[in-house]
Point group: C2
Chain length 409, copies 2
């Protein structure tokens, strides 16, 4: 029911240290890591090793789907509000750039276009223009794809392609003001990632470039720090565009260019990728893009994967978020949604872009329970029972899909 | 000006991996770790290795004074509000217990006395009684001792024996209610740590047992999680008493016994230790104990230890806290306290027990500046210019002592 801690990691590293090094010399370090993952409390669908750029993650808190897709286990979220970097998910659309880019962070440059005085700014210069910290839910728009019976292609995330983290950086509006304000006709904010593009293909077909509506300008941040540490390469360091309340793909890692203009990016990832395409249909730019997150919640504990929960008093807990809107309330059901009780919001409120923790104390007799949660945001939007079917498995906020089976004995 | 990140750690571990393992076999792993620390950006007063129970800490974010006293570097606090576990200070009064105690966390037992129905509770039982999350400043009462010209004995902490962290656990008041309420005559809450005591000495002379006034009852927590992870052995896992707003020593690690009674503990650490003893005097129980923290703040950046800061716009930032009281405002001076400007409070407000970040944008010409900060709490208490002199170097909240010299070029 709980993930391994630092303490367990230490013990394991001690045991594996010698063997891992020897195997590394033989090019077999993946094998040692797979053995390591065998000590995790929950069965992993595939015990792949952590990739080198994310080797500092807690291997027992995550499921490694691939080198660029790593999911937090539901059991690892715990009951605090912030997701530590060691257990935060990763979803990279391209391999991470060379680690050299985080060696001299302050020298990183960002081109700013579509302002009255367009220019290049170093990270050192950006740091002089302002300082803000914002807590946001970071979530892959495909989080919950694993619950689609249609099995859309893409990583079958359940709940763990999400986390709530703190970002420090400069508000984008400060940067715009320092460069004379927006040029005329700004309708979209477009960020371009600094990943190295594969050769021999049309750059537009691979570049990570996304546009969001200009209304997000007041909330956006150019962040160089996450959870109190310099932003890691794995999460977009040295500089990442944060669009609070928007699905993860809009939060451009290694941002090299920030442009304000009248049209959306023509990059494939914007024009065709991440669109709400009808089942069986083809993606096209006229379909809705995955922008603001919708209202969503799920239960994180207790879980009975490792054995039944003891009958009697039980503290059900989970997380709830409303994208750009605050959470108004959360209801919890132990009978698969036939009846609901209002849960208590617990812990500090980190602002409307963060998730809230909730808890409900229930008395459970031995048996089997379908435990679900249903969040309501400040605009009265209610988390729906059913997902919106779509070809690529985006934006799943169905409370039914996110319910858990709880065995009590 | 910044601490090393995860990325740097990975690079270093790759380089050192083989050597460290080989040296470990020779019992020389401390040597390799000392070499590691040589890559830190700031000169360390003593590049001691991290002790085994805290080997997962970020070695470049901390100064290891001893195996039981580890300080966060001022440059490592960054500008977010939460202190990650990897860089949080450690001050243990006794060596940490054997790691076996965190192997089966739910089996840990706590004796509760001074309630109507005294009994032993397992951690599994405690988890059924409630769930709360609170952000608190955790600070050693000797933080700032390093600024006393009298050089009191004890670790010469500067600012880094402090952090702001999230705790999840059960409110102590819930536990009291579940056990029938307080017995008559409860004036103090006494917590006893589960460290193994050295043999052949009077247990009262060494046991970590502290009492706080019963008025703290409404805020206290029995915590099993810190910053979203199971509480590590290094920080008191599996179970720690959290007394929000009180100096660190009152937050009993590995808590084995929680008692409500009419008198303070007779343990030496309570009766004679941690008292506000006049300079040159002897400690005695009639002197004030280090309980509530006083109002305090300091600047965390930018720092010019690694070279002067560039002239022009500068974003000065730091942290401020008021113990049990919220921060009302923070003022910043760049001329050693002759003139002050009100800083901006930035980032989420995590409640009155957490610290607030503050920032002030200033334009600095080349030169040398004495940068200080001065916090005011919700009761109007102003952080003083001078420390209260005392024999053991406790409770230093002098803004003058905490000021930094900033070189600008």
């Amino acid at each position: 029911m709980t993930t391994k801690s630092h303490d367990d990691l230490i013990a394991r590293r001690r045991v594996l240290g010698g063997a891992a090094t020897a195997l590394g010399a033989l090019g077999l370090s993946g094998w040692a890591q797979a053995q390591t993952s065998a000590t995790t409390p929950l069965a992993a669908p595939a015990a792949k090793p952590l990739p080198a750029y994310a080797a500092w993650k807690n291997p027992s808190a995550v499921v490694v789907h691939s080198a660029t897709t790593i999911e937090t286990r539901r059991s690892a979220f715990g009951s605090s509000v912030i997701t530590p970097a060691q257990q935060l998910y990763i979803r990279n659309n391209l391999p991470a750039p060379d680690a050299a880019i985080v060696e001299n962070r302050d020298a990183w440059t960002l081109d700013v276009e579509g302002v009255k005085q367009p220019r290049s700014l170093t990270l050192a210069e950006l740091k002089t223009l302002g300082l803000e910290t914002v807590a946001t839910v970071l979530q892959c728009s495909g989080n919950g794809r694993g619950f689609f019976p249609s099995k859309p292609s893409g990583t079958p995330w359940t709940v763990g392609a999400a986390g709530c983290v703190l970002w420090s950086g400069v508000p984008v509006r400060n940067v715009v003001a320092a460069l004379g304000g927006l040029a005329d006709g700004a309708v979209f904010i477009t960020g371009t990632g600094g990943e190295k593009l594969p050769e021999g293909v049309d750059p537009l077909s691979v570049v990570v470039e996304r546009s969001v509506p200009i209304k997000a300008l007041g909330d956006c941040l150019l962040a160089w720090e996450m959870n109190g540490e310099p932003l890691s390469l794995a999460h977009g360091g040295p500089l990442r565009l944060i669009v609070p309340g928007y699905q993860g793909v809009n939060n451009i890692k290694y941002i090299k260019r920030l442009a304000f203009g009248s049209t959306e990016s023509k990059a494939k990832i914007m024009a065709h990728g991440y669109r709400m395409t009808p089942p069986g249909g083809q993606s096209s730019p006229d379909q809705a893009s995955v922008w603001e997150m919708n209202v969503k919640s799920w239960i994180n504990g207790p879980l009975s994967d490792g054995g039944p929960v003891k009958a009697g008093l039980v503290q059900l807990h989970g997380v709830a978020f409303g994208g750009t809107r605050a959470i108004e309330r959360v209801e919890v059901s132990t009978d698969g949604g036939q009846t609901w009780q209002t849960a208590r919001l617990v812990g500090p409120d980190l602002g409307r872009f963060a998730w809230r923790q909730f808890s409900l104390e229930v008395k459970l007799a031995p048996g089997s329970y379908q435990v679900a949660s249903r969040a309501v945001d400040s605009a009265g939007q209610v988390q729906p029972a059913e997902r919106v079917e779509n070809a690529h498995g985006y934006n799943n906020n169905s409370w039914r899909d996110h319910a858990i089976s709880l065995a009590v004995a």
